[in-house]
Symmetry: C2
């Protein structure tokens, strides 16, 4: 770590975060003695007062404790949290999805600014390039008062499609502008895909857990879903895909290989290739959700399923909602061989997308501001997730387990078996804390003691107390005391 | 007519338009002598040179001719055009709608700036308040960089819903903000309504002719349609609605009582009331399209079907696309008793609408700019429609008939029986003229010799030559010479 690049006042913060991550990862276990201020100051080449500031903050957070005349120690109440190993019954039956009402209730928190932002998945406003984008939007509007007021083409603004196509080289998708369709967010891309591929009564294959809006869409379109387990550490297993598509008449698959919402799982590129080949051989179309693809914490962007597509059977859905501006509602669909039908569905749903927001995002991309922004965003998201895991480790009851994703912006928390996630959701909401209960991420009776937490916001005192309170509420239900 | 309010250079234009309207209405018939320049100048209190300018323009357009030493006469080639009386077979069968491909081709002209704007229904850019709106958008963005980038609530921006509710008093709808849902244009409102009310295989009742995007949506949702004739002069006949809803199991009606696209028909308020009562008694929901409701040429705004709704069975769809900015894609849905289901469909289609455009339109409405703009727009649209009817009378082959709507912005043209509208559509497109062939406005084999022309643009020399060329193309097909 190079501390010189940081302004003075943030250096202690950095030290604090690094130590808490070591503790959380189990490198430092409860009872371990921390290096003395002097040692630490020497090895990090930072002033003693900076290190002291960091230690004080860690003590305030309850992670370490000072013992008189002895130094600082990792507090014994802290337990590292393992990744949940989800057990899913092997006998999987097609299900009619029926959790609509509960999902609707959870969705009502979208855009509700009174709730602590642990429910809605989107970076907090300080992390979005809102001011830059506002400037660009103003130029676009000023320079094109008529064009911004008039209809866009049905497939969407050509400049924007070109920019998206150009950028798609990074993830191996190699899209072209004429094969792209701009949509009102990735949700609309998914909706268009399913309307294009299925009819009511059809069977679709999804991951379990899956984003609840996908399940709700599946229900609303009168489809039936089969779920295959998504493993937080390895994502989708091609053998299971092979097994199920051999047994059932699957009309479409919906997979999120890159940081699946909610379990944050990443499916390896080798597995992706295998999955695409299995489905291509059986002529089963594959709808890919890649909204978190750009938020990777490692060195390289994970590839898309689309990048292994040879016959246009993969329909890639993505958006800028998790990286630039959710309110602009700009997503896209690369529908492969289903382009004509997809355009028909788009035209009869809402004709075309909003003109000025498309033009603004196109210019934002052209000015190469996006890559610099993404770099900062990735760093922030990675840190926030680590900070949240630390807090959960401190505040949540014995038996809690949490995922450790390598990208995305959600944590999937398994609470002790006695805790009811739905009950916790309602109790938390009463206290102004927005979370999402685990049951809505499956059409089966799974994940009743799970919750999903968004890690889109930097750790603040407010957020920290919210998390602690959440831990207390969970502990009250689970019958055991909290650790903070 | 008060000419004093007009700048000097436009007075002749006004005289020209008034005379051409008299000719077109049959007040002046071919061979009639026009008042002398001196007489006209005296009676209108305008200079002789102004009147002379007007007469010269009328002569250039081929409407009148000067006979040496005798004065100006209405040219004998001009024929007033009666309104078509559409004959629809009384034996109506439910149909699976199947004109998708042709409609798709027609739709490809949306946003195509290379075509003469006779195809797409939307006011030309000079008639939209684009500069005012751009200013407002700029303030909104500057003052709210974060809010405009963030998610809006699923039902839409509250300010905007309040403004729409407030304005709904005019058309008798009496909406409230909590019963409204903002949509991506009226098309999305219609789509949400049909997804809310129907399942594939269901039967819906529509007007004939009907807007082709409605038919395409009906086809895409796997619905079957029954058509009842829409009379250009009286709109929908409640007796036919009564008859058909007694005979068939109709799941929803889709009606455009105010200036139906394409025939421009207005259903009277008395008939509206009757229709709503018939359907309420049979518990059949009614989807109302009111996008042209504000573009009336008479003294008062026609009421909505919704204004007669007592039990929430009417789903009102509308937008600002025909009056403020189609590119902003702001529409709304008042779904009556189906609100919950409609919100569910909205959330799973694209979560919520674009934030900054909603905020800008809300402010535009709050600043009371809309009423002043609408007044100007109505006047312009009325004049343009009259000018177009005149040109059609001059240029189109013998046997052509055209509607005379009291609002809206389309003309429905019946060509001689031998003319094939689809063939004319393709030939016109080759020459850069965008029109829509009549057959796409019905699921039955009707209107093959009809075309729809948008009257959204002021008459220019370019538009005039386009219309003349269109008349020539029609005459070539019909086997008779044009009159110009």
């Amino acid at each position: 770590m190079n501390y010189d690049s940081l302004p003075n006042q943030y250096r202690y913060k950095k030290v604090e975060q690094e130590i808490s991550r070591h503790i959380e990862a189990g490198d430092l276990v409860p009872g371990d003695r921390l290096p003395s201020l002097r040692q630490m100051s020497r090895s990090l080449q930072l002033s003693i007062s900076t290190v002291n500031h960091a230690y004080e903050e860690l003590e305030k957070r309850g992670l370490i404790e000072s013992r008189p005349r002895s130094g600082y120690y990792v507090r014994s109440e802290f337990r590292p949290i393992p990744t949940p190993e989800i057990n899913i019954p092997r006998h999987i039956e097609p299900r009619t999805v029926t959790k609509n009402k509960l999902i609707q209730t959870a969705l009502e928190t979208v855009g509700n600014k009174d709730l602590l932002p642990l429910g809605v998945v989107c970076p907090s406003k300080e992390l979005l390039p809102a001011r830059q984008l506002a400037k660009i939007m103003n130029s676009v509007i000023r320079e094109n008062p008529y064009e911004t007021a008039g209809y866009e083409m049905i497939p969407g603004n050509l400049d924007l499609r070109r920019q998206i196509a150009f950028r798609s080289v990074d993830c191996g998708s190699n899209l072209t502008a004429d094969k792209l369709l701009i949509t009102t967010g990735a949700m609309e891309a998914l909706y268009i895909s399913l309307r294009t591929l299925t009819r009511p009564g059809d069977l679709v294959l999804i991951q379990s857990p899956s984003y609840y809006c996908f399940l709700q869409l599946v229900e609303n379109l009168g489809l039936r879903a089969i779920e295959i387990p998504s493993c937080p550490e390895r994502g989708i297993n091609p053998d299971r895909v092979d097994e199920i598509t051999r047994t059932f008449d699957i009309r479409a698959c919906i997979f999120s290989p890159n940081f699946n919402n909610p379990d944050g799982s990443l499916t390896s590129d080798a597995r992706k290739k295998e999955i695409v080949e299995i489905l291509a051989a059986r002529k089963i179309p594959l709808v890919e959700d890649d909204v978190y693809g750009e938020i990777y914490f490692g060195d390289t962007r994970p590839r898309t399923l689309k990048s292994f597509d040879r016959d246009g059977g993969v329909l890639l859905c993505s958006s800028f909602s998790k990286t630039i501006a959710p309110g602009y509602r700009i997503g896209w669909l690369a529908p492969g061989r289903y382009l004509d039908k997809a355009l028909e569905i788009k035209a009869t749903t809402n004709v075309s997308c909003v003109a000025p927001t498309q033009m603004a995002i196109a210019r934002y991309l052209r000015e190469t501001l996006y890559d610099r922004h993404l770099k900062k965003l990735r760093t922030a998201m990675k840190e926030q997730m680590a900070d949240m895991r630390t807090e959960i480790g401190l505040s949540f009851p014995e038996g809690t387990r949490v995922t450790n994703p390598t990208g995305g912006s959600v944590l999937w928390v398994e609470l002790p078996e006695k805790v009811d996630g739905v009950d916790l959701f309602f109790r938390a909401r009463e206290e102004g804390i927005g979370i999402v209960p685990g049951v809505v991420f499956s059409s089966q009776d799974l994940f009743s003691n799970y919750i999903r937490l968004s890690s889109g916001s930097p750790m603040t005192d407010e957020l920290r107390s919210g998390l602690r309170r959440l831990g207390e509420l969970a502990a009250l239900q689970g019958g055991s005391a909290t650790h903070s």
